[in-house]
């Protein structure tokens, strides 16, 4: 690996535990700038826990998280710095229901980054336009479809101008039709060169959009490879079993 391709994000021996019950064991992973990594695997494999460990929503019980080579510490200031650079999109959107779409997108730039409101508003409108929802700027999330809500959530994360975007099963709570519009938004984001880590059950998305696919089971990385290779020619029997089960559904 050359100096220029130093990983943007690196996990080093990360473990995640809930009340002494470890669900992620010693995972190391590197994500290069502009790379799209899909995390796949059966439920309970620890994919979401690993993703949430990256921005310390679940602080790792062991191991290190490095952003641009700098280790993230446990202090509030260090975490805030990390979270400014790492956008997160949740399975259940987690939009603020009492704020309009525009207010949702503006909130963090104004209050976390200190962007002047007028400028934040302008940028928020750009982000909403970006996800195709400029006309929903003054609507509250409750009046939007699930797909629209998730796209607003993507705009909200993008408004922080993050270096990495994390997606935690962004389409699992959606009907296939609505999921498709979210996937289309993510696809164009990937095409623009955004660095993304995506936990997903959408195998087509993993195969078509991701550069690399990581297969996890029982809290460990079982196998990882370039997307096309892993999906078409899995090496490990556990991966083969999983992909067969998913495809034969």
């Amino acid at each position: 690996m050359t100096a220029e391709s130093r990983p943007l994000l690196a996990l080093d021996g990360v473990c995640v535990a809930y009340r002494h019950h470890e669900v992620v064991h010693d995972v190391s992973l590197e994500v290069a700038s502009g790379e799209v990594v899909a995390l796949i695997g059966p439920s309970g494999a620890g994919k979401s826990s690993l993703l949430r460990a990256i921005n310390f929503l679940e602080p790792p019980s062991k191991g290190r998280v490095l952003l641009e080579g700098a280790e993230v510490g446990g202090s509030r200031r260090s975490l805030d710095a990390l979270r400014r650079d790492v956008g997160m999109v949740f399975q259940s959107f987690n939009l603020f229901p009492h704020l309009t779409a525009l207010q949702n997108v503006m909130l963090a730039p104004v209050h976390t980054l200190g962007v002047p409101p007028a400028q934040a508003r302008e940028r928020a409108m750009q982000q909403l336009t970006h996800v195709g929802l400029a006309d929903h700027a003054h609507v509250k999330p409750g009046k939007c479809s699930g797909g629209q809500q998730q796209r607003i959530a993507i705009a909200r994360a993008l408004a922080m101008e993050p270096k990495v975007m994390l997606f935690d099963e962004p389409t699992s709570a959606l009907d296939p039709e609505l999921g498709a519009e979210v996937l289309a938004t993510m696809r164009s984001l990937a095409a623009e060169g955004m660095t993304m880590v995506v936990v997903t059950h959408e195998m087509h998305f993993a195969e078509d959009v991701a550069d690399r696919v990581v297969f996890m089971a029982d809290g460990r990385i079982v196998e990882q490879n370039a997307a096309g290779k892993l999906m078409r020619d899995p090496q490990h029997p556990r991966t083969q079993r999983f992909l067969n089960a998913v495809r034969n559904r």
Binding site: N55, L57, L79, D80, A81, R83, R84, V86, G87, M88, F90, S92, F93, N94, L95, F96, P97, H98, L99, T100, L107, A108, H111, T112, H138, V139, K140, P141, G142, K143, R156, A157, M160
Partner: protein, 215 residues
């Protein structure tokens, strides 16, 4: 009936005064109690739990007596009946309201807290812009119920001599011996005074829920 009403009306200012002042005390003191009770550190949580439980375990009239005759009758401290009533009822209802606040904070989904953390939103902004507006919707109806309960409990202040509606009703009855008439009017007066609280609560509930659901 109207003569009774005009006699008892002299007590309305005290009844309303005690109720409103105690409610303000309770609303303010209840918030730190609720936040402390939600702490993850038991050393912080325990004192708040003890305060809330003890305040609620002893009858209000006993608290008022303790505050008026014991704490408020020393050489250093002299409390008026009004002050003793407001302190006592304010503290008791701070305990009640803290439980309502806690329920409101608990009602905000975990995902909302996670989203604010993922966006690195400062703690003050998290409460002010995201959590409290949502918790308020859950808290307003029980707050109104407690306000009405407080209005009724304020009658206890007459026992330590606050000149409220009940006090005037007792005095009038000792003169004219018309207990049935006087206390019927007194009871209706309390019920009538509770109506604005209920109306305010309903209006607030409607406005807040609408703000939550959408345009």
């Amino acid at each position: 009936m109207s003569t009774i009403l005009s006699e008892l009306a002299a007590g309305i200012p005290q009844t309303i005064g005690i109720t409103l002042a105690s409610f303000v005390v309770a609303a303010v003191l209840g918030l730190p109690l609720a936040v402390l009770r939600r702490s993850e550190l038991w050393l912080v949580r325990l004192p708040a739990v003890v305060v809330v439980e003890v305040l609620r375990a002893v009858p209000p009239i006993v608290w008022l007596f303790l505050i008026y005759y014991s704490l408020g009758s020393t050489d250093q401290v002299r409390l008026t009946t009004l002050q003793a009533a407001v302190i006592g009822l304010g503290l008791i209802y701070a305990a009640h309201l803290s439980e309502a606040y806690r329920a409101g904070l608990d009602a905000v989904p975990v995902g909302q807290w996670e989203a604010t953390r993922a966006l690195a939103l400062p703690r003050a902004q998290t409460y002010a812009r995201v959590i409290l507006p949502q918790a308020l919707v859950v808290v307003v109806p029980p707050m109104a119920t407690f306000a009405i309960a407080l209005l009724k409990d304020s009658a206890i202040a007459s026992v330590i001599g606050a000149t409220d509606i009940t006090f005037h009703a007792v005095q009038l009855t000792q003169q004219d011996l018309n207990g049935l008439g006087n206390f019927t009017v007194a009871g209706l007066l309390y019920i009538a005074l509770g109506v604005p609280f209920a109306l305010v609560a309903r209006a607030a509930d409607r406005v807040l829920s609408r703000r939550l659901v959408g345009v």
